[in-house]
Symmetry: C2
Subunit: 351 residues, 2 copies
Amino acid sequence: MVTMQQVADRANVSISTVSFVVNNTKPVTPQTRERILEAIDALGYRRNATARALATRRSHVIALLYPLMERNLNSFVEAAAAAAEAQGYHLMLWPVRPDNQAAEVTSLIKSGIADGVLLLEVQLDDERVAKLREANAPFALIGRTRDTDGIDFVDIDFEQATTDAVDYLAGLGHRQLALVIEEFDGTALAGYSPPTRAEQTFRNATADLGLDGRVFRVPRDPLAELALAHQLVEQAPQTTAIIVMHDEASFGLVNGLRRRAVAIPGDLSIVSIAPATALGLLIDPGLTTYDAPGGELGGRAAEALIAHLKGRDGPPTQVLVACQRHDGASVGLAPTGRPPLDTLQSVSTKG
Amino acid sequence: MVTMQQVADRANVSISTVSFVVNNTKPVTPQTRERILEAIDALGYRRNATARALATRRSHVIALLYPLMERNLNSFVEAAAAAAEAQGYHLMLWPVRPDNQAAEVTSLIKSGIADGVLLLEVQLDDERVAKLREANAPFALIGRTRDTDGIDFVDIDFEQATTDAVDYLAGLGHRQLALVIEEFDGTALAGYSPPTRAEQTFRNATADLGLDGRVFRVPRDPLAELALAHQLVEQAPQTTAIIVMHDEASFGLVNGLRRRAVAIPGDLSIVSIAPATALGLLIDPGLTTYDAPGGELGGRAAEALIAHLKGRDGPPTQVLVACQRHDGASVGLAPTGRPPLDTLQSVSTKG
DNA sequence: TTGTAGGCGTTATCAG
DNA sequence: CTGATAACGCCTACAA
């Protein structure tokens, strides 16, 4: 850790002078200030928040009490918090804007506010991971990067879920499948790996079984989600089963299909993979889903990180957590002799 | 603030001995330990996390980086974080289980991890507020308690929204209204004020206008939400307009009504007040909603708290933020001569 | 304009 | 088993 004293030494001034420029609390000659700033920069100095807090008796932190109601889909956060507590640690949620995460994450560690970091929404090539590595800061991922060498992560096994879903649908006689994934290009999540991996797996699995597999990328945008039904009907009218890996698209999709008199699951079966919201139950018909055990993800990630902090050595924790299928009423046998979706409207009698 | 030294003095031991029992780091005679524990208890001592962190070079905190994507309805958290940052503060989210919030909240302050607290999901009589007051800890509420004397709060003006909704619907000729609110009895949110206040306002507003107003209390539970449509049809078949103040019930309600061939808004108009999720757009038809400006709530609450921390005196910040109506397609003129809802199924031709 | 030194509340080492 | 005492890194009078 770089201290003020080290900065002072390098700049040939006393520690108080450094304090003055760091805090802008007293005037300092431009030249000395310059030297100090140079030293700070060269050494990568960050003021230690803990020491500052102790000296000033103010932490400069305000806390938003964040009640863990089941409602917030935070079984995940809850389990992480519980795991931390069990180890004598506290979990804090550090809100960051997507654009400056990489910067914040290192300052969080260097300033001493936290000992380690848990990362969410990990991208294939994640800048935050790079920064943490070079800062030598302990971290664990929920999700994973392309290169997982030596790093702790706990991830959902999207490959397993996707393969399982394809097998399951194929077993029911479906031969024309579609996959709906979220389009992240142009958003802060570009490069987000789960959709990418799911797509890959889907293409392989369908190819292996000799099935027809179409992929639809849909941005997170109500209009696009509503348009999806149209797109699907127009571009892949032979489809009999859809795998959706997109939190919100399922709503628009079901509504759009209903409007077109497509019967679910009579004409078309739908499976949703790892939906973040538990609203599937409220859709009519209830969705068949592959659910990720949020608690296990959060808990194991926190444990891995803390084990690290406690000085445990050995191989990194690298876990894939399987999703489990929960049967709703949105999947059925493949229809026989069903006309193409785009002609269905005039043929079908009842949705 | 109570320090170890004070505990030591009261127990007639040295500060190190206190440290030993607090941290269980060395054996101590049962008698002295007893004296120390007594002193700790009597003085309300809490180990200062900052000093401890400085001495041990470990904060015992792990951070979960919490990306603020628009998706998570955290315009609210985002604004609070931004407001804090603008004032040289950091916002942290402190996850707590609903059952021990009151205990956590004071230890959070006493341990020096945070300077002040923002409270969500405030109840009419909130234990946390009582604790914070007696601990003399700075706080601000998002929401409000029954007694708001001298405390900073920013709340949604549910009264305004409810009154406005009743007026709006009455203006369209509706005379048989229903209000759907969340049932919190038996949950951690029992006594939660918004539904209570909305109910009160609804009863007054309908009475003032000579309208018929029915109230339905629905737990947050998919089954109950689906049953709501049935309940409504059976118990208040003359209803022509519903005001929903229940995040999820609207889904079940719309689906349930559709199944019963109730046309929206032909037979029945629906308005949703301050839905936490923006999924209203995905319902068919799009819901007319009263939306609370989350950013304003979070931002102003954080500002009020920090102003306090910075020593500003004067009257407390007490703000009611108005909701704004966003027209969807779920509201129409009151139907004339529509049969009771419970007989509608056989009469209506199309949903 | 810059430096010195005491203190913030704990922990940890080393004596008793 | 218990007690002094020197850190931890920074802030802030007070002095120079």
